[in-house]
């Protein structure tokens, strides 16, 4: 396969969650999402309750992918920040370490300047965490061990049961 699967363990998840909570507070944001470039939601912070997070994750990734396509046409490697301004809410989307997408939704209680500043700080911390995740995955793969794999024992029956 072209890339490694993303495998997230409790420990890294907790660290990511802490970073998001901190950013949520410092940037005075409404909601935060972390999405992988393929459109899967990794984590969130704030009140996500009225938001369809799965759809939002997929559309954000589509948005970043399309913007990346435009960038390449223009000879840019990537546009790392997208900003959408609405009547009440605004969305700040940024690429972190070429791998994950950070989405910050904020209203008039914050400002674009503050969000940009705080996102920049948080990006550095998150990049470090994701670097560690991929080096851990590579190491474990090389050593041929992955803790408590849920797949080793998958049977045809398990799969058939999904489609009952």
């Amino acid at each position: 396969m072209a890339e490694f699967d993303l495998v997230m363990y409790e420990e890294e998840f907790t660290r990511i969650d802490e970073e998001l909570q901190k950013l949520h507070q410092q940037a005075n944001a409404k909601v935060l999402f972390l999405v992988d470039k393929n459109g899967q939601l990794i984590a969130s912070a704030g009140d996500t309750h009225n938001i369809d997070t799965t759809a939002l994750a997929s559309l954000t990734a589509g948005n970043i992918a399309a913007t990346g396509g435009i960038a390449r046409l223009l000879g840019e490697r990537e546009f790392t920040i997208l900003f959408h301004e609405g009547e009440k809410d605004n969305i700040h989307i940024s690429l972190i370490g070429q791998r994950v997408i950070l989405v910050v939704i904020f209203d008039q209680r914050s400002s674009l300047g503050l969000v940009r500043l705080r996102v920049k700080k948080a990006s550095e911390a998150l990049t470090r965490i994701f670097d560690e995740i991929s080096s851990k995955a590579e190491k474990e793969k090389a050593e041929g061990r992955l803790e408590e794999s849920p797949f080793a024992e998958i049977s045809d029956e398990d799969i058939d049961n999904l489609f009952r």
Binding site: A2, D36, N38, G39, S58, G69, P150, A152
Partner: protein
């Protein structure tokens, strides 16, 4: 590239429906959406033109159940089939775990099928994938129409390696879940191989 989250105990896999314009990719997703329990599905998102042609993609998240304590989620995507949306199709294949090729069985669409399958191979290669190594299922759609090509002929052209194929009428749902189930099974068995 599936996403395995030990923290929330979830596995997320991406399945892409590929095929020429008007072959029934979106119709497949619409049928799956209609026939799935509300608690197992998210919203069906369609980024389409005013004439209901797919512009960027359709997206349907499905959470069918648990395997060994892990919630298994499939994210189904379609690509825009029309030839000039090539750039968009490429983007949607990013991180794909399994592909369904929906072929239009009408004789006059055979050229379009061949072209689309070639396009799929090229786009996958650009991302470092090989179709032969990916979970892959072929669906011969629109079998209810009068002017369809014989199955043997379709398979010899579109499926020379003899991978699993299904006859379908996506409008009525015939073959739709069989196709999905087959590709999903291959995706999960692929995970088993890797972990």
């Amino acid at each position: 590239m599936s996403f395995i989250n030990y923290s929330s105990r979830e596995i997320n896999c991406k399945i892409v429906y590929y095929g020429p314009g008007l072959c029934g990719k979106t119709t497949n997703l619409q049928y799956i959406y209609r026939k799935t329990n509300p608690d197992q599905k998210g919203k069906l998102i369609s980024l389409a033109t005013e004439t209901e042609r797919t512009l960027f993609f359709d997206f349907l998240p499905l959470a069918l159940g648990d395997i060994r304590g892990f919630r298994v989620r499939f994210h189904l995507y379609t690509v825009p089939g029309q030839v000039f949306y090539a750039a968009s199709r490429k983007l949607i294949l990013k991180g794909v775990d399994g592909v369904v090729f929906v072929a239009d069985s009408q004789i006059e669409r055979m050229e379009a099928n061949i072209e689309s399958l070639e396009d799929l191979k090229i786009n996958l290669a650009e991302q470092g994938y090989e179709l032969e190594k990916l979970p892959f299922t072929v669906q011969h759609n629109k079998r209810d129409l009068p002017n369809v090509a014989p199955l043997e002929e379709m398979n010899s052209i579109l499926n020379p390696n003899g991978i699993p194929f299904f006859e379908a009428v996506a409008m009525t749902g015939r073959g739709v879940f069989e196709t999905l189930k087959n590709v999903a099974k291959q995706v999960l068995l692929e995970l088993k191989k890797h972990y």
